[in-house]
């Protein structure tokens, strides 16, 4: 699998060229799906938490990419372009869910509707520490949560995140450090409550 990823990185230019050719487009897109489905899935999953929602959003992401592939001219990296579509799909979905459930997150409160989704999902096998971490992450606004996930779990570079989200590196650094502080405070207060 690692060898396949390396080969893809070397062939990205060639794949982009094949995408411009109508006859080779579908085969080239299949390679894109093979390469990006897993990282995109995890990116979406960490945001929406439920497997079924993540699967639907991933399908929508690839559908949108396929329908707009002719407009992709290689000005940005293929991965950046795909992540951007996935991020937009996810944020739109979360906003729609919030409107539906009439949820608004203010202060340090956990997004209760998403926490319910997580606790009901049969594909979550985390222990108490991991569940608590997810609770703490759910106190963050969606965009900050996304930045935190990209940096903390995926070790993405700020420059990469900046290209995907369209936010400056400086603002991202500030947002991440603020998120870490908020999560650590939440977890520390939880430990104190546990001890008392």
């Amino acid at each position: 699998m690692i060898l396949y990823y390396l080969l893809f990185m070397l062939n990205e230019e060639e794949i982009i060229q094949r995408l411009q050719d109508k006859k080779k487009q579908r085969a080239a897109f299949t390679e894109i799906v093979i390469h990006f489905s897993e990282p995109l899935y995890w990116q979406i999953r960490k945001m929406v938490l439920s497997h079924d929602d993540a699967n639907d959003l991933l399908q929508n992401t690839f559908m949108k990419s396929w329908m707009n592939i002719d407009s992709f001219r290689g000005e940005s990296k293929l991965s950046t372009w795909l992540y951007r579509i996935a991020v937009n799909e996810t944020i739109t979905f979360l906003n729609r869910q919030k409107l539906k459930n009439q949820v608004s997150i203010t202060g340090d409160k956990v997004d209760k509707s998403l926490l319910d989704v997580l606790e009901a999902d049969r594909y979550f096998s985390g222990d108490d520490v991991q569940l608590n971490l997810q609770r703490a992450i759910l106190t963050l606004p969606d965009k900050q949560r996304m930045v935190f996930n990209m940096k903390y779990f995926d070790d993405m570079k700020y420059e990469e995140i900046s290209e995907i989200t369209g936010t400056s590196v400086g603002a991202l650094k500030a947002s991440y450090h603020h998120a870490v502080k908020k999560i650590e405070d939440y977890l520390a207060s939880d430990v104190m409550h546990g001890e008392n």
């Binding site: 487009q25 579908r26 299949t30 489905s37 899935y41 991933l58 399908q59 559908m63 520490v129 977890l187």
Partner: protein, 120 residues
């Protein structure tokens, strides 16, 4: 060394799981759901030409309606009489306007009414 709860959590494995064989079948599942681009192109072309087809149908309808309003002579030529007394005449006259004249010129509906009222 004292590690923060956040650091402790990072070392643990991914708590999210997927159904068995999910990633193995994912590519196939995605590719099957994607529409054929050829069909999509035809659909787009049809979408683009539809307003023009509607416009052509409207013009044809208008031409037929106009032909019916001005009347048709024995030879099939539409005639607009120049004086009131010969309004019902079916004889073609030299300064009469035919449907072809109206369609080929840039005469608008308003010009036509003006022309009719002038000659009443």
């Amino acid at each position: 060394m004292n590690t923060s709860p956040l650091e402790k959590s990072k070392s643990k494995k991914n708590p999210f799981t997927v159904p068995t064989g999910y990633f193995e079948n994912l590519t196939n599942q995605v590719m099957v759901s994607l529409p054929d681009k050829e069909i999509e192109i035809h659909h787009r072309v049809w979408k683009k030409i539809t307003p023009w087809i509607y416009m052509a149908a409207m013009i044809t309808g208008l031409a037929i309606g106009l032909r019916w309003i001005v009347g048709i002579d024995a030879n099939g030529d539409a005639v607009i009489s120049t004086n009131k007394s010969s309004q019902h005449s079916i004889k073609p006259e030299t300064d009469a306007i035919t449907v072809e004249d109206v369609l080929l010129s840039s005469v608008g509906e308003y010009d036509l009414y003006e022309y009719l009222f002038e000659n009443e």
